[in-house]
Symmetry: C2
Subunit: 177 residues, 2 copies
């Protein structure tokens, strides 16, 4: 189901700014949160910066294990994605509560999410800005896409439960990768 | 034309991941580049992380002056935005070449762009990751929106001249700001 994606193509998944899910695993307990504050930092090996608030249950797991998975949901999962963001892993097993299927990764203990059209196995590469901004730099070690999900539309957070869904695609002659 | 936007609302502009323009000014010479690698870091005062490659002419200006403007174009400017990204300020005055109108800011020497629906005056707040990743942390000092541009649609880069335009807006019951 999940097919490997060349690491050089990872930026095409994250650069448009989709709302993503972030999974962690600590002491045999996996968790998942919703995240919108992320950006590409380098093409290859792909580096991704993200902000995980220290108010989130996932923060300690990410800082301690230095591993996570960024899973990218399509708009079909929008209600689940918001529900994941509305509660904490301190109180609930969100995978069970929201019917998210975990799959094992190859490089990290944090699980992939089978329902997402892409999953990025990440290791923490830089923590210099964690104490000041909760900003982690991650390196993507392996990327997976579900090739059965054709042209998935992502969602983009505008605040307070408002999301913009991907619309039309336009092509212009750019020299940029 | 440009009306002040409360700083607490700035994240709603950048969190969805739009392609933006970044202006700088050095030695009385302004420049503008196209940028997609940015993210919110804090709500208020708004902090924004961005990557400006040291291959870009804007890099030295940003590092030296520690000031810039992030200007957000709607899809109506898509061709100009790509054209700005296809050339360098080393060779051309891009404002003149592409018919972009500059407006003075209040906190920075870098110009606002009148045709963009939002402009964020920024000061560099942290340079610890500049040498390693070309990653700057900016603080937004003042935000402006053009209230005449109603419901502007932004563009999101998918690589090699492919852009996704904002589509429909959906609303879900989120507890997140």
């Amino acid at each position: 189901m999940m097919k490997e994606l060349p690491l050089a193509k990872v930026y095409q998944l994250l650069e448009p700014g989709p709302v993503v899910l972030l999974t962690t695993a600590r002491k045999d307990r996996a968790n998942v949160m919703t995240m919108s504050w992320h950006m590409m930092v380098e093409f290859e090996p792909p580096l991704v910066a993200c902000v995980v608030s220290n108010a989130n249950f996932s923060f300690a797991a990410l800082r301690t294990t230095r591993e996570c998975v960024i899973a990218i949901p399509s708009v079909k999962m929008a209600e689940k994605v918001v529900a994941v963001g509305n509660c904490s892993g301190r109180d609930v097993d969100k995978f069970a509560a929201f019917g998210l299927t975990t799959l094992p990764g190859e490089h990290v203990t944090a699980p992939l999410i089978a329902e997402c059209f892409a999953n990025l196995e990440c290791k923490v590469a830089d923590t210099r800005l964690v104490n000041t901004y909760n900003l982690f730099v991650l390196e993507v070690k392996k990327a997976w896409t579900d090739t059965k999900q054709k042209n998935p539309k992502t969602i983009h957070h505008r605040g307070y439960g408002t999301f913009v869904v991907d619309g039309e695609t336009i092509r212009l002659k750019s020299r940029m990768p």
